[in-house]
């Protein structure tokens, strides 16, 4: 909440799209699907809504698109509240999760659909459609029908269809979730490229945090209708604001710590963490920041080992009772260690991150 307020006060003037204290609950229920969400979104930004299923990110997207009117709050586009404006009057376009290509229309007609509704002349429409299809590298498919295309191709057509309308805001609802791994990686790059080329503001919804980290300029992490954190990927990863974010993004180890001598934090076993702290806290450290070393301050027993080629993961139960930590290291440096071994663990205090309890 504090974070949200901070953003509100400092960034509000700069953003061209503001989600202002939007709450939403479905008729007849008490559950707040969105709870006081505040988001300033910049122009020309690749903005991602990230969170587990049910966190409200899709609802928020629908609010932006115009398919839901929130029970409270405003959405300001260029300063104007668009909450009550129906979808067909908004300069906002959506790429749907299931693509939603019109099966009875050819690719060309699909892509020119929005432009036709706007009253553009035939020649202009076709030109715009060709440009859009060129952007997604599907120009050759102009006269085919959607059923002729593969999933990935349909996806790109859906994208072209939305982009052809040159919207001020492009919404993407988990567009890559139905694609296989390789295709997904490819499309991630494509989407990023297209966003930068066209300069359109993208609002991208996903539950895949790797995807979010790879593509976004800024990420908003949501849980159960609330915003947990908003910021660039590095902030989200290295400096998570809440335990939820720490746990959701990447793997993390969360260890309980208490204040002790010298105003610093100590693990329950008494190890000096080397970071200042005056209150009880949780300390987060990523698996790749821990090292199995010959001479580290912590020690423990290896209870799990997963070899995955370049890296190996260990589960080590610490002897001081702090719990079990995950450690990830390049395989070469830890060959020879097996389950049941007693090892010592080292860490770099600079890579610790302190969270409130």
């Amino acid at each position: 909440m504090i974070i949200a307020l901070q953003l509100y006060l400092t960034e509000i003037r700069l953003s061209f799209l503001t989600v202002q204290a939007v709450s939403h609950q479905y008729a007849g229920t008490d559950v707040k699907v969105l709870n006081n969400v505040v988001l300033p979104i910049q122009e020309n930004e690749f903005f991602t809504l990230l969170g587990p299923s049910g966190c409200g990110k899709t609802t928020l997207l629908r609010v932006l698109a115009g398919f839901e009117v929130p029970t409270q709050g405003k959405v300001l586009l260029d300063g104007q509240d668009i909450v009550r404006i129906p979808p067909w009057k908004r300069p906002v376009n959506t790429v749907f999760q299931n693509y939603a290509l019109f099966p009875h229309l050819s690719i060309l007609r699909n892509v020119t659909f929005g432009l036709k509704m706007r009253g553009m002349s035939r020649a202009a429409r076709h030109k715009a459609a060709h440009d859009a299809l060129a952007l997604v590298r599907l120009e050759a498919f102009v006269d085919r029908m959607p059923s002729d295309l593969s999933g990935g191709q349909q996806q790109r057509v859906a994208l072209a269809r939305a982009l052809a309308c040159k919207p001020r805001l492009l919404l993407l609802d988990e567009p890559l979730s139905a694609l296989d791994y390789k295709l997904r990686k490819e499309m991630q790059g494509e989407l990023k490229r297209i966003q930068q080329e066209t300069g359109t503001t993208f609002v991208f919804v996903t539950h895949d945090q790797e995807e979010a980290l790879a593509m976004s300029d800024r990420i908003a992490v949501m849980q159960q209708g609330r915003l947990e954190q908003v910021g660039p990927p590095s902030d989200i990863y290295d400096r998570p604001a809440t335990p939820f974010v720490a746990g959701f993004i990447g793997d993390s180890n969360l260890l309980p710590a208490e204040p002790g001598a010298g105003g610093r934090l100590y693990l329950s076993g008494g190890t000096d963490l080397g970071v200042p702290g005056a209150a009880e806290a949780q300390v987060m450290i990523r698996p790749e920041a821990l090292k199995i070393d010959t001479d580290g301050p912590l020690s423990g027993v290896v209870n799990d080992l997963v070899y995955s080629g370049a890296a190996t993961r260990f589960g080590v139960t610490l002897n001081d009772g702090s719990g079990t930590v995950q450690i990830q290291q390049p395989s070469a440096s830890v060959s020879g260690i097996s389950i049941g071994d007693l090892v010592s663990v080292a860490f770099d205090p600079n890579q610790l991150w302190v969270l409130d309890r």
Binding site: W88, V92, T94, A100, H104, A162
Partner: protein, 266 residues
Amino acid sequence: MKSQGFQSLPWRFRGLSAAAVALYVYLYIPLIVLIAFSFNGGRMATIWEGFSLRWYAEVIQSDQFRAAAANSLIVASTSAFLATTLATLAALGFRGRPLRGQGMMVPFLSFPLVVPEIVTAVATLIFFISVGIPLGMIGLIAAHTVFCIPFAFITIKARMDTMDITLEQAANDLFANPRRTFFAVTLPLLWPAIFAGFILAFIVSLDDFVISLFLAGPSSTTLPIYMFGMMRLGVTPAVNAVSTILLVVSVLFVLTAAWMNKISPK
């Protein structure tokens, strides 16, 4: 663990195919016989005397036949059209509102199946008389429309339920207001089902006998009523001929309707 279904069982239940084949034979033989004997050269409907088309000629040239056929066509096409229109509106209206009218709809829809035709016929007759609707073409059309609606409705609703809602959302997103969305997206996708529903309603109306019998006035004889009169008078190949004509028409229409339903853009 899903089994292969019934397909793995045939060897356990032998003899079923024989029963099934027998059934299909049983279903079709009377009809085949009927059709065959419509080409009978002789006067007796059941004693073969050579191939001839004379009965068809006689039938087609009969004024009564033409009048009855014309009536039937008029009634059927009008009723089917009205029924289909109403059914389409109903199907659209009830979309996505499972709670509101559903309870009321179910009895309304199933009544052709649940209530014997003769009861409906009697009730409609009494109703018309009491309200002052004259018996004749108009009454017929009204009554036919009513009992044809369920057939059209089921066809259209079935198609509608499988239609993707996001398509209309996509259209909205692409600057099409509800009216334009309907004409540009919904209707084209629903069209084959609407047409199939129309055809089904048409056949149902064309074939109807009992209700028409009760409600037709002297000048609005329909084809089935005409046929019935002929049958009462006697068994001649002429009757076979008329029957075959009706049969062929019905089958053609059913085939068209089935074909229409198969045309579905994915």
